[in-house]
């Protein structure tokens, strides 16, 4: 397979199995995937098929049993812990189903976290800008407990875009939200995605949501298949 300049994610012959007490559990054995810059991709599939696991492999959070993942042409597994962390901080962001905001920090402080990790000089101003962009200028100094679910997810989105990532992984970002709020969040996510030219990899159960993406992939019984309209 040739690798063009604009391939951001390239996975080859990915396999993952877990050693459990009941024996070894193979989730998938040969997954191949190429994602171009700026693309938006949805991964759908039944529960337990390994979507989250695949995501963590693609994001370099976990090592595959065999096979290779390259992000922006770099094989993360070749890097040291520190370099890999730095790469993640520079290029990758996540949005989770459960938001994962630290409860005792304000919205602003939560958004500042990834910037502080890279020791950004103007973390506070940057964070404020992003919170304004997601429409939370009134909520900067509120703690997560004082925010609604949708607002919390918007803080998480601000946090994920604050580092200007080239790759955004979202694992069921609307799973904890009602339909209406979920739609608003998705709207925001896609808008920012376009504006920032970020590559979006989205896990979802929602077929309509999957259709909004440029490509949709179905993970089932260990194989990843492209869904065509």
């Amino acid at each position: 397979m040739t690798q063009t300049m604009d391939t951001v994610v390239s996975a080859q012959h990915l396999a993952k199995q877990f050693q459990t007490q009941a024996g070894s559990l193979a989730l998938f054995s040969d997954i191949n995937l190429e994602i171009a810059r700026g693309e938006s991709i949805a991964i759908i599939g039944p529960s337990g098929t390994g979507k989250s696991t695949l995501l963590s492999l693609l994001a370099g959070l976990d090592q595959p049993s065999s096979g290779q993942v390259r992000l922006n042409g770099t094989d993360l597994n070749q890097l040291s812990d520190r370099a890999r962390a730095e790469f993640r901080n520079r290029h990758i962001s996540f949005v989770f189903q459960a938001f994962h905001l630290l409860p005792d920090l304000t919205a602003e402080q939560n958004v500042m976290l990834p910037l502080q990790i890279r020791n950004h000089k103007n973390a506070a101003r940057e964070a404020q800008e992003w919170l304004c962009k997601v429409g939370l200028e009134q909520r900067m100094h509120h703690k997560p407990a004082e925010l609604s679910g949708g607002e919390q997810q918007r803080v998480a989105i601000a946090r994920s875009f604050a580092t200007s990532p080239s790759l955004l992984f979202a694992d069921e970002p609307t799973g904890n939200l009602d339909e209406h709020t979920g739609e608003q969040i998705i709207e925001q996510l896609f808008n920012l995605n376009q504006e920032q030219n970020t590559t979006l990899i989205l896990i979802t159960h929602d077929e309509t949501l999957a259709r909004r993406c440029q490509r949709a992939l179905h993970l089932h019984n260990g194989t990843l298949r492209e869904i065509n309209e």
């Binding site: 963590s56 812990d81 962390a85 901080n89 994962h100 502080q116």
Partner: protein, 820 residues
């Protein structure tokens, strides 16, 4: 059968829970609480009983009269009429001598055996008291002078044959004089020794025993007739005993043990909270499997009961071992034999531990019982709600009740707990505040500075518990150690090299010239002070009772005979603050004494000296340096006033270590003199303090281990939270290394801060201890300012390293997606 189901489950659970750190911490803390309270109760009880000697057998009678002058015979006749048993004791602290070896001893002679209590000897004696020419002595006399039964011992002019070893005897006295080894000689033998001149340290006692009613009658009778100055001691209401130095130190030990107890209680509370949290799901599961709420409660109560039983057994055994160690440390300081403590005392630890467990545990169990099966169906991991105040209120109440029982003093307990609570809240708030301000300020100077600041903001609640606990623990430990050390060290440093270290008392008029000569020959510079023993009886011609307030009448200086002197020159360590020095017929009074008795220049004061009256006008007021180790006097008369009274003389001087020869010469030439070697007394006191400090170190070790467990528990309580935080940071792009560094920075900061705050508290409390209790010049302790923060830093980093091993990245994401 149904009943046994919860119990069997409980047995299984107690074992399987051992893999939970909170269960282990609970067991350990409970055991500590039981050990400490049991140990303190037993040790305290035995020490107090030894020291107080409240038993009539130890006192020698049910009622006793004591005085520094011979007591009148009519008291004995009164007792005879009432049909009471009695004896009369003459006692003297003096030098015993054998082959030029000298020893300060207490000598007693009795007119009859003690009315209650036995003199126990190594071998039976045909007569109840030593017969003529014989003396019985405690083992200390034999050991320190290298004697055997059958040897001779010299007291004053007289020599006695030692025939028996006294194993124990009643009427040993208390306080420091009771540390002197004791001798009993036959009735009247003391008179022959020539030791009884004016100025001798005599004690005359009459002891009575009989039925409580008889004693009551006698006591009321005596109270009416005894002159002031004669002390009446009834068996129960002996207040002076409560104030004895050792009783004080035993309550001091008790107090410091209280802190260990509180720490253990807190550990129990926190680990129970965590335990119920970890059991919440299991409880719901058991319920869904058909266990009733009642059975569930039974199950967990049984489990706590099993824990209590095991901890009681181990805790009491440990207490027994430590008690041995404690008594071993106090050996030789406490008059033997030490009475056994009753079994109940040992059980108090277990009872107290049980009470704490109940108070802390029941509210937790009630929450557990409320677990709901429907929670199993929800994917959300249910967090147990402890929002209600009830558990805290019950826990606090339990603590107060337990501490009050332990200290046997409600006001003390309440004020202590209030102080601790307030100090804890203030310290927690202050510590958390400083931590966040400090990290905010320093953030730009370290790569992780801003992250650290976020972390500190995130963890405020935890700091508010952690910082005060460790801070107070540190402060307590260091205050204790330093106060005792300072007492030992600085006291000695305070004495200039030439400070007199010998007192020579009981020098009679006819010996005076020769003693002076002998001292001069040996190059010893000293002044011989005439001593008259007298009691203040009148002010401006009126009896004291008419002119003084009840508080003033209560002054200790009015209750005993004072050493009075007369002099032409003002003693060098005295300073005149008012009046004129020694006009004809004048007397100079010490400033404090004048203030306390409300006496002023121009007042006429009269003394009763050996039954006769001497009157003088206060002509000057002086200050005195009491710690100068010179003879010091409240009253110094101008020479003419006491002309017609016979004094004895005393002096003090400094002897170097290799001038033991002088003391030998003195004693052999003047056998009736008493030479008091201050060094001996100081070293005895020092020994006592050293042993006490060892004992308190033992307690401090227990306290620190309780504190370490608490630290461990609170750190692991936060473990989940920290795991989660680190996982999140890692997905946000922090490396494992950075997370570890962040943890260490945070722990170091909090540990160091706790240490620093502890230093402040330590210095503050040492300041007041030094001023109020030790009467030492307060000073800062620079090494503390370095060592405590460092120790805090190291300790926190070490314990956090122990309690949470770093997780790797693979698990981070898992942690995040599994935590919903």
């Amino acid at each position: 059968m149904i009943n046994s189901v919860p119990f069997r489950l409980a047995v299984k659970q107690s074992v399987s829970c051992l893999k939970l750190s909170e269960w282990r911490a609970l067991l350990f803390a409970l055991m500590m609480a039981i050990t400490i309270s049991g140990l303190m109760a037993a040790l305290g009880d035995r020490i107090e009983r030894t020291l107080m000697r409240q038993g009539s057998a130890l006192l020698g009678g049910d009622l006793l009269l004591s005085h520094t002058r011979p007591l009148e015979h009519r008291y004995l006749s009164t007792a005879d009429k009432l049909g009471l048993r009695h004896t009369q004791v003459t006692q003297l602290a003096t030098m015993a001598n054998h082959a030029e070896n000298f020893l300060l001893v207490t000598v007693r002679s009795l007119t009859a055996p003690y009315p209650s209590g036995q003199i126990e000897l190594d071998s039976p004696s045909p007569s109840p008291l030593p017969s003529s020419g014989e003396a019985w002595a405690e083992i200390g006399v034999y050991e320190r002078l290298g004697l055997q039964p059958g040897d001779q011992i010299q007291l004053g002019n007289h020599s006695f044959t030692l025939t028996r070893i006294i194993r124990s005897a009643p009427d040993r006295g208390r306080g420091f004089i009771s540390f002197n080894p004791q001798l009993i000689i036959p009735e009247g033998a003391l008179e022959g020794t020539g030791l009884l001149g004016p100025g001798a340290r005599m004690q005359y006692r009459q002891l009575f025993a009989g039925s409580p009613d008889q004693i009551k009658v006698l006591a009321t009778e005596l109270q009416k007739t005894i002159p002031s100055g004669v002390q009446l001691t009834a068996l129960k209401n002996d207040e002076s005993q409560q104030n004895s130095a050792l009783t004080k130190s035993s309550s001091y030990l008790r107090l410091s043990a209280l802190f260990a107890l509180l720490i253990s209680a807190m550990t129990i509370f926190l680990s129970l909270r965590r335990f119920t949290q970890s059991q919440f799901k299991r409880a719901a599961l058991l319920k869904s499997l058909g266990l009733s709420e009642r059975q569930l409660l039974q199950l967990y109560i049984s489990q706590l009961a099993i824990a209590w039983l095991i901890c009681s057994l181990t805790g009491i055994s440990l207490a027994l071992v430590l008690e041995r160690l404690g008594l071993f440390l106090l050996q030789g300081l406490l008059p033997q034999p030490i009475p056994d403590a009753s079994w109940f005392v040992y059980a108090t630890g277990a009872i107290l531990g049980g009470a704490i467990l109940l108070g802390m545990g029941i509210p937790a169990l009630l929450v557990l019982q409320k677990s709901n099966t429907s929670q199993l169906l929800q994917s959300r991991a249910v967090r147990l709600s402890w929002r209600g105040r009830l558990p805290y209120v019950i826990a606090l109440f339990t603590l107060i009740v337990c501490s009050a029982l332990y200290l046997n003093n409600l006001t003390l307990t309440l004020s202590l707990i209030a102080i601790l609570l307030i100090a804890g809240i203030v310290l927690g708030w202050l510590g958390a505040y400083i931590a966040s301000r400090l990290t905010q300020r320093l953030a730009p100077y370290h790569r992780l500075g801003h992250l650290l600041n976020s972390r500190v903001i995130q963890q405020q609640r935890w700091y508010r518990v952690q910082i005060p606990v460790i801070c107070l623990l540190f402060a307590l430990l260091s205050t204790n150690l330093i106060a005792l050390n300072d007492l030992l060290g600085r006291w000695q440093a305070q004495l200039p090299a030439e400070t007199p270290n010998h007192f020579l008392i009981n020098i009679q008029e006819w010996e005076r010239a020769e003693v002076e000569q002998l001292l001069q020959q040996n190059g010893i510079v000293s002044t011989l002070w005439p001593i008259y023993r007298g009691r203040l009886t009148k002010v401006n011609g009126q009896p004291l009772a008419d002119v003084l307030t009840p508080e003033q009448l209560d002054q200790p200086s009015l209750k005993r005979e004072l050493n009075l002197t007369s002099a032409t020159g003002i003693p060098e360590h005295n300073r005149l603050v008012a009046g004129r020095w020694q006009p004809q017929g004048g007397v100079s009074i010490e400033q404090k004494e004048a203030e306390e008795l409300g006496l002023e220049i121009g007042d006429q004061i009269s003394f009763d000296i050996a039954g006769r009256e001497a009157t003088a006008e206060i002509s000057s007021i002086r200050t005195v340096r009491w710690d100068s180790f010179q003879p010091n006097f409240y009253f110094i008369f101008s020479p003419g006033v006491l002309e017609n009274f016979t004094p004895s003389y005393m002096t003090s001087f400094h002897l170097t270590d290799n001038s033991a020869d002088v003391s030998r010469q003195l004693i052999s030439q003047f056998p009736t003199l008493t030479l008091i070697d201050v060094r001996q007394i100081l070293s005895q006191l020092q020994q006592l303090l050293e042993r006490l400090s060892l004992l308190s170190t033992l307690l401090m070790l227990l306290t620190s281990s309780a504190g370490l467990v608490l630290l461990y528990v609170t750190l692991t309580q936060e473990l989940e939270q920290r795991r989660y935080e680190n996982a999140l940071l890692q997905t946000l792009g922090a490396s494992q290394h950075q997370c570890r560094q962040l943890d260490q920075l945070e722990m170091g900061l909090i540990g160091g801060l706790s240490g620093l705050l502890a230093v402040v508290i330590t210095e503050l409390s040492l300041w007041s201890v030094h001023q109020q209790l030790l009467k030492l010049e307060p000073a800062l302790h620079p090494y503390l300012w370095v060592s405590l923060p460092l120790i805090g830093c190291g300790l926190f980093i070490a314990v956090s390293q122990l309690s949470h091993r770093q997780q790797n990245l693979n698990h981070s994401y898992q942690t995040l997606i599994n935590r919903i």
